[in-house]
Subunit: 415 residues, 4 copies
């Protein structure tokens, strides 16, 4: 596709190549799964088969060795062209795997982190087809840093109780990471992270995802009722509930794959619009719409928005890679993290706004045709609107976050 | 609703009152018809029952005597809050009836037009429950002024053949007006308008409307195959195909009811968002979202867009009423028509753009809640996007039209 | 001018007629005063001569009897086309006179207010050429409701001390109203309003206005040092400093004349652009720029913004007139005032934003020509930017204000 | 400055360092030159002294060896923070020198181009303080590819006659390149490029630059009357007037330095606004404005626009460098050039639009303070508006250009 982003690392090139092949297949199934609201299990079988899901696993351990988050994002933009639902779902997994390899390398470089064998176990599990549901912390009525989901100590371990929503990838995930809280002796809560395998007793993965768009992303609820966890599966943070973690280790990159998925949706829409304008003729003159001045202006605006979204993804991605490489031990200072997040939120704001606008313009270019259920544009219009809901932050919250950082103001408890 | 438009005529007040009552009922059925893609026949029964569909019929003939297009629009904005599909469908009818009463008054004032008895017959038919499908001229692959649908002379009458799309209201319309072309002896085409009753042999009203939104508007295809029409039912224009009519008689008003329907959709979305922000609390502080600064900014922007859309509808409506009253014989000069259309297109551009933006902001205000299929916002998001497709013009075409008028340039064949 | 607003009252028609005649003269002097930063004393002589400055004086007292704020605004939009600086300066006076006639009528209708003879004295002074500097309360470092300017009691009267900025019209004003504070026995401050004639000892009207635009508006500083005022000239409010007045009596109208001035600036710029596009030819084709597709799109966008600004002024103006007429005794309830102000701020937001955008587009249409100092567009570009500074509110503050009202939130001390 | 672009090459780092030092000095003089409309000769003396003007001269010939257009742009963004006028003026020179080194390297790599000794002569002249006025082709009433300026053959050489406007840098340029036309024997015109030294008889460099902004850029007219040129100084193109050159050799880079200058202006404005918000306190609460929610939202929006402008400059710059390196012989195929120009125009559109918007928001953040002549913001507001006039293209023309390229439409004679 003209003007598209291209990978800048070798493993990235391999990853993008696989993504393009998958996207072609997934595109053919996307409208059906969207209509029926079904989960595309076969897409995930394909991605296991090809090694795509193991791309960030270190080459030392048998993976492709993808380390660049920028290239990870480029690949997901390709996948998003074919099926946005699959792209955001597998991104949950891929970013988790990327984080694990990052931790693994960090530990080897002398940084702090989970024991290498644990990480290696998880990474090897991925090579064997394991799918990791990223840290899906959303709950109704509270914000991400204040889960109501709770673990309580019980002989030699914990009981987990809570209710999570937006559990993207849950229909196929084999490993789940669940943020929760733990009440200390002083009555104050500590943030913890639970790890558990699919099918642990008491976990109820609901098949209840029914939304405007991203209908094939498997984002239903997951309930936890008296789930018994061994102590080792509850990772203590040592920090009070709500505190920002001292070192996240993944600056300004958390949503890059998501952003890329929405860029891919926009690219697909733009492509449809351009082809339609070039081929559709209209009476009385019977000229292709591409020769009309207003269509050229419309496509011109759309193309600028597309270039801008790509530039922001590239800019954010290169910056993230640079920061990541600068701190191999994952000991990035808080102010560096804050600046990286500021840029990341700007990229999110622009890419999602532009993606929505591009799909809107593609619809306009299509005349009434794109409004019909049978047109992929009608799916893209619904899928693309999911973007601004991705936490953190919604667009107006992002403005507040960025403004506070730029003005050296404290973030406060609500951001 | 705060800041809403209010009627400025007595019949308008009656019409708006009925609209509000209907809207309350229709709102309860809207999500169901949307989900199933069914036509809300019961809504139309209600509107026949109440006299709503006969509002523009002159009081002299037994109707409410609604003459103000501004107030017609205000009423449709109320209906649009309850169900956009019904609102745009009944608008097709109401604007037709309004046009007939306008013609009827024009003829009585000494202007030209169809014979009064014909008009009275139609108007009285409406009192009896008749529903008129407005001039729905859309066809695939050509523009509105160049129909490929054609009448050919046959002993004492004509045969009509063609295929129309976007036949809004067709599931219940009792009278259809169909634009067509007629080849003259010199081989050149003339524009004609055919009138026929529902169920005329050869008319095939298809139940095939399946779109992203406005799913209950009954906008499927209508095919005409060798439909035999008496000569009196084919209204000759005497002007070559594609020519703009010398006197339209309805300056800058054709889409006012449509615009109003979309304003109503936006008002409904804004209302949901405001209520949600006032009532939804979120942890950890458990404060209503309405107290968050970013929410206030977001709602502030939304409210400005809403006020602007209302102002444009009011401004366009008052201007249209003024022009209509200034030319009781429907002999408005072409430059006056052009200026009125220029303002009308500006109103269309702004109202539809703002309506889309308001629904978008309402979604943002809702957090993820509005993205669920069960939320009315997810319907409003799909319904509102129909607006810019309404012909004439699409937004970029409107810019060209307005620019040409402002610059005293000829419009050319494509606009 | 095509599409312009027209008066809806008889006195309004007279006022607009005068405004158009003045505008033609002032336009010829505008660039000179702008370049030199001089005050257009001759414009004010002309407006005294014609009776323009006395337009709102009741006909009973010898004036034109202009009561419609909408029509007041329409007239100022005309004046703004000729010279924005003069328009905003005389608006300070005209709105003051309008307020006095409103008070005078209110008192006669049985409402509360200043004694009729005082009001009549001021109104008759205007007939004799008096110019009233509106309540110009701006001070550096504080907001309008919290003046640091203070009166202190002294035998039989008060001493006034303080420093005001943005004293528009001060070069010719004959009467000044100065908001100040008065410390009570309990140490708390009360809001008061001082009235004094030009040249009262201790008043220092500085000739120090030097700004980016509106250079002929005479908006320099006015210092008050130990100005002795009789008790009758200090109007006590009885309300604590910072409190919003219980009844303002002028809902959503305070800035209508200012907004109109900026609309006039935008209209002048659009007019220049359209004429330029129609007449300027460019090689190699030597066609007028009006025939270029991109110019048509640009002018189309500009025209929509213009129509929107006009619609907002009309909508706000009609609403304000309606509210004013509904409460002849000036006892409008606070919630009605709040709603009126909400609409007013929306109108301000849109009109000023659009005016800036229209001038920007006019510059684009001009090619480099409008960027030259000798082009009036280069003045309009600077003048129009004054709009968003007018208090209350700046654009982002307006969003907060409107959002809070829409969400039924308290306004807090800072708005 | 937080989030600023940083150089990615070694010579770029040296260049940026010099730019920062110069910017600090130039900033102190900028308001004075702006007020008086004088040319900052001392700035150019400083830049000669430091070697800044010779940065693109190859290290082999004694320069800094700056080859990256991206880093050239980064340096000019720094300079633009200090003084936009100087930045756009010296950019004319620097981009010319960059082009010469590119030609020189191209010739050495086996590509076509002017003889190496000629290029080396020019490049060494720059080391000695020579300043090259870039190809300034603007004339009133025609477009850049169709100059009316003409050379006519005369014994052994040519006579040059014509009138150029917007001759930025002309007060100090020592070498001028002047596009002209030459009538062939068949009566058709050929494009030619004339080279002449300052002070050649018949050249009249006028001191008549008087514009809204960029007042210190020395952009007055230059007239040519019967200027006698040796044949070697008239570079024949062999292509008909108006034809796009077969190989430009500088894809998507022509305006990068200009864009960067405007980014610098925006950065300066943002910096002022942020500092002001952090330090200015306002009554009654006396809190810094940075703590107000609306200020945070405003600065948040501004910061996103700034990040986007930087991303676009980076993206365009990296792409240009990549293309340049891919074609060391300057034989880039036309479609590659077209695509590069498409991205370049998108970058221009976004950067200039955002720069204007950023300065606008900085003004809003300043309250009335930024509107005073003494505030640098009032200069930045005028300077930044020069951006969209830079040819090619104006914003609406850019939309047409980009749309046509995206739709594979021919460009036509007017673009």
């Amino acid at each position: 596709m003209r003007g598209e982003l291209t990978p800048i690392t070798e493993p990235g090139a391999r990853f993008v190549e696989l993504a393009e092949a998958h996207a072609a297949d997934f595109a053919a199934r996307a409208d059906g799964h969207d209509r029926d609201g079904t989960f595309p299990f076969e897409n995930f079988d394909d991605m296991k088969q090809s090694g795509f899901i193991a791309a960030p696993v270190p080459a030392e351990l048998g993976g492709i060795g993808l380390t660049s988050v920028r290239d990870l994002a480029v690949g997901l933009s390709r996948l998003g062209r074919g099926d946005g639902s699959t792209s955001i779902a597998v991104n949950m997994h891929l970013f988790s795997v990327w984080t694990m390899q990052r931790m693994w390398r960090g530990v080897q470089a002398g940084g702090e982190g989970p024991p290498a064998p644990v990480l290696e176990g998880l990474l090897k599990g991925v090579l064997g087809g394991g799918l990791i549901a990223a840290i899906t912390g959303t709950e109704a009525g509270t914000s991400i840093r204040y889960p109501n989901t709770e673990v309580t100590p019980v002989d030699g371990g914990y009981l987990l109780n809570g209710y999570k929503i937006f559990g993207t990838l849950s229909p196929v995930a084999t490993v789940f990471f669940v943020p929760a809280r733990l009440r200390g002796d002083d009555g104050a809560y500590e943030s913890v992270l639970c790890m558990l395998g699919r099918g642990t007793e008491g976990q109820d993965i609901k098949d209840n995802w029914d939304a405007l768009g991203m209908r094939a992303s498997g984002s239903g609820d997951v309930a936890y009722k008296d789930v018994r966890l061994p102590a080792a599966n509850v990772i203590r943070s040592g920090t009070p509930l709500g505190d920002r973690p001292a070192a996240q280790g993944d600056p300004g990159a958390t949503q890059l794959g998501l952003l890329a998925s929405f860029l891919g949706i926009a690219e697909a829409a733009a492509d449809i619009a351009v082809n339609l304008a070039k081929n559709r003729r209209k009476g009385p003159g019977n000229l292709p719409l591409a020769e009309r001045a207003w269509m050229q202006q419309l496509i011109g605006e759309m193309d600028i928005e597309l270039a801008t979204a790509r530039a922001m993804l590239d800019f954010n991605g290169r910056h993230a890679d640079e920061m990541i490489n600068a701190y191999p031990r994952r000991d990035m200072p808080e102010d560096v993290q804050r600046e990286a997040e500021r840029l990341h939120q700007a990229a999110k704001y622009v890419i999602q706004r532009n993606a929505i606008s591009i799909v809107d313009k593609a619809l306009t270019a299509s005349g009434g045709a794109g409004y019909m259920s049978k047109s992929p544009l009608s799916r893209l219009y619904r899928d693309v609107r999911a973007g601004p809901f991705m936490q953190p932050y919604s667009p107006p919250e992002a403005l507040e976050f960025i403004g506070r950082v730029a003005l050296d103001q404290p973030l406060g408890p609500d951001l």
